[in-house]
Homo-oligomer: 203 residues x 2
């Protein structure tokens, strides 16, 4: 059984990440989503193990101390992170694990798990991104400005990602195909199969 | 215009390279084949610039001295090599250039042109390879043994290639799709687009 890939997918607001991932995962059972861990209380309707793994502050701090989280952050007094054990279990089953995380978390994961594959999904340009955010009409001006500021901080770090996928207007299908091509190519890397030659002669 | 990729494809006798490449290139005009240069005389029907670029020994030696060949070898008194200028012209036009070469040449190219993408196409196993070679019924026993010997020398160097693609029995279509996935993924590598962030904000 070949190990699955740890797939980091980041993308600024307006990159269309949700749509692209939905297209990409349609009909595929070889991918799983990582469920984050948090110390915050469940909101009405949230299910433990589905929306989040809800844990105590003590449990969270213990995992941080034991290097049991691939990445984590603390926000307004609560911890949020990606449990390592769950990730390793999915990968050992041969499925690919998708971490939909922001740039800081992505860098933490790449450090602890260098074989992770980091993909940045981008709108065609900052101007298009801004037009998309305003076009939604669902967010306040201050929220939009906050997201654009975050983009100005995060996109310059795109060179720390392995791949850049562009989501053109109406191009979610192509972006999904691009990510699947990356997954296929990564599986074929000789570095992921160090015993290929021995097996070739032994089989 | 994005530069094309220099694509090295190697594979032992019986790997089905010809069939896989024919499937892969069907209907695509974004790939070109590299035409080798040689000092040997044209055989009846061979056309200069199509089968080979036929040159004098002096011209060949001059190119070797000027680092004008991406790889070369000498065999039974004649030189064979891959002209660098032709390769750079194709890549600058945005097309991908396919070099179908053996392991030694592939290593020379990777040294001079580190951004080349090296793919080893392999039969499922050595046993299957041997069965394919014997099944053809077109080659002498000594020729078959010579090719198997070459495989024993070359396949252990597969870890110097970037990717390993397997051509299972009846799997040429899949192998062709795998190579196209590699090409697509390589084009999306952030390392091939160092100014991505600047362009994102400028466009």
């Amino acid at each position: 059984m070949k190990k699955g890939l740890l797939l980091i997918i980041s993308g600024p607001a307006g990159s269309g990440k949700g749509t692209v991932l939905a297209r990409m995962l349609a009909g595929r059972d070889d991918f799983a989503y990582s469920v984050s861990m948090t110390t915050r209380d469940p909101r009405p309707g949230e299910v433990d193990g589905v929306n989040y793994h809800f844990v105590s502050h003590e449990e969270f701090d213990r995992l941080v101390a034991e290097d049991g989280l691939l990445e984590y952050t603390r926000y307004v007094g609560n911890g949020y992170g990606t449990p390592r054990a769950q990730a390793e279990e999915v990968l050992a089953s041969g499925r690919h694990l998708i971490l939909e995380i922001e740039v800081d978390g992505a860098m933490q994961v790449k450090e602890k798990f260098p074989e992770a594959v980091a993909i940045m999904l981008l709108p065609p340009s900052f101007a298009v991104q801004e037009a998309r955010l305003r076009g939604r009409g669902t967010e306040t001006e201050s929220k939009i400005l906050e997201r654009l500021d975050q983009t100005r901080r995060e996109v310059p770090l795109v060179d720390r990602y392995d791949y850049i996928v562009r989501n053109e207007d109406g191009g979610a299908e192509q972006a999904a195909a691009d990510i699947l091509a990356i997954v296929r190519a990564e599986q074929l890397k000789s570095a992921r199969d160090p015993r290929a030659a021995q097996r070739y002669f032994a089989d």
